[in-house]
């Protein structure tokens, strides 16, 4: 009998037992240990199931907390012998690895020359910061051409592939792929895009063998504090107005500059 009882019959039996239990009626004693809830799993099985569910809930909470509260590592930069700090970054159209392989992202090269998936840096105060950005992504017209101009850098200028640059017309050529902007310091540098028909790098870290533009500029770090920086191109593909996902996540298109 037990072996031939269907799953639905077992379920109905369990529902009946449950109803009687919660309405005060006597619970049918298990006929054969296989048709009631108590007999559906052995005691060891129930304990195992409970433990597994508990661990799943705990793991879910840990993942949620880490994702919500955790932040990428901080890369600490020190001034060199000339009293300046060199920061090298790259922008990629798709990070290529979990947890968000399709998200566009910045990467930072640490002082040991290794690319790190982080956008948080620590730099000394009142120091000249020399930034080099290897830009590997394609471009498009800007939503607001106002961020097509270079502002806040030393001399109000940047260079692209060695040539001076003051403003980019995002409506012509390859457009602008991303911007490097620290709004509270008035710093904005648009990063010219690569041709979308080129064989672009598809996963980070990209190497200079892939099509890219090298943008360089310098600025003076302010006094101690934390200064958010970001990209002003709404490059969160598939998100409302392009402003979700990587545009709202530190470690991708947003970061902190911690000045000490």
């Amino acid at each position: 009998m037990v072996a031939t009882r269907s799953v639905s019959a077992g379920w109905l039996t369990w529902r009946g037992a449950y109803r009687r239990q919660h309405t005060g009626a006597a619970i049918d004693p298990p006929e054969d240990g296989g048709t009631t809830w108590g007999g559906w799993l052995s005691k060891t099985g129930r304990l195992t199931l409970t433990l597994v569910l508990f661990l799943l809930v705990v793991a879910g909470l840990v993942i949620a907390v880490v994702n919500l509260l955790g932040e990428p590592a901080t890369v600490t930069f020190s001034a060199d012998q000339s009293g300046q700090v060199d920061i090298t970054l790259q922008t990629v159209g798709a990070y290529g690895s979990a947890p968000h392989p399709t998200w566009v992202s910045y990467l930072t090269m640490d002082p040991q020359g290794q690319w790190q998936h982080t956008t948080i840096w620590q730099v000394p105060a009142h120091t000249r910061i020399n930034v080099s950005i290897y830009q590997y992504d394609s471009g498009s017209p800007l939503r607001n051409q106002q961020v097509g101009q270079i502002t806040g850098t030393i001399g109000g200028i940047a260079t692209m592939n060695g040539k001076p640059l003051h403003v980019i017309d995002s409506n012509s050529g390859n457009g602008v792929a991303h911007t490097f902007s620290i709004p509270t310091l008035g710093i904005n540098v648009p990063l010219y895009g690569n041709s979308s028909t080129a064989n672009l790098c598809g996963a980070a870290p990209c190497t200079t063998s892939s099509p890219h533009n090298l943008i360089t500029f310098s600025f003076m770090s302010p006094g101690p504090g934390e200064y958010p920086w970001q990209c002003f191109v709404p490059c969160g593909l598939g998100w409302l107005f392009g402003n979700g996902g990587p545009m709202q996540t530190v470690g991708y298109m947003d970061g902190f500059m911690k000045v000490v």
Partner: protein
Amino acid sequence: MSDREVPASEPRHWWRLVAIWLVVSVVADVLYLALVGPHIPPGRMSSTASGASFDFNVLFVMAVPVLVAVWVYMVYAIVMWRSSRGGPEPAGGPDARGHLGIQIGWILTTTVIVLFLAGFGTYELVQPEGSGGGQGPTPIWTPASHHVLQVQAIGQQWKWTYRYPSFGGFETNQLVIPEDTTVAFHVTSLDVIHDFWAYQLGVKADANPGQDNVAYTTPKQLGTFMVRCDELCGLWHGAMYNSGTVVTPSEFESWAATTERLLAANTKLLPPFAYSYIPDANGADGGYYPDDVDPYSTAETYGAPQSAGG
């Protein structure tokens, strides 16, 4: 002796209460107006800021007597009519009955106060200059003067930029306005909802994509003021602020002319000035759009017109 007769030994509680209430209320209001009132935010930097401070002070001065009345009566009752140990149990007597005069007086007084505040508040929402609030694209209050400086405040994740249509439509991170000149802020957004809050100016208006929200003010003091976004708008909402400056009219003219010249190269790349812009698919093709928004519209689009293929 009738129920309503007061024994000769009984003090005149009513007149005592009125006297105490009157003295305490006057003293409290005078102290408030002298010591606190002048410092109530947002201050006196503009006509609308002064209006907001004045409104707050009026409401506070009116609220104090009401508060004092409740507190004075409570304290007086505790002191004068408390049950003494070993004395008779308090019991309802003639004085516990309703008093028609007091009831009518109380209802009339509170009615007058509430109606006055409703009328005052409604009037003050319009005067002066629309109280600095966003009035939408067709403001109820409009300035009589034709000499109004138009400044467009554009919110985007996460910064404010400002366009000056009277000076070639240049767009800048700086907000500079002249003293003693009525300014019309045209507040809009290029993405989500922001809120333009020029704190010391007493100006606050929502920035909605595709909408022109007009707020007026007239700066009355030179100096700097803070601009913040007051609508939770994403990751760096807390960093979406900058400062503005009120300068003399001549300094403003000089600044505007210089800035217009410096930004000329980029100004010619901006779309023509419009009072609102429809965010389009520009920018990594990023965006899904509400049903009533055509992302490929060439009208008032903040960016280059796009082909249907995006």
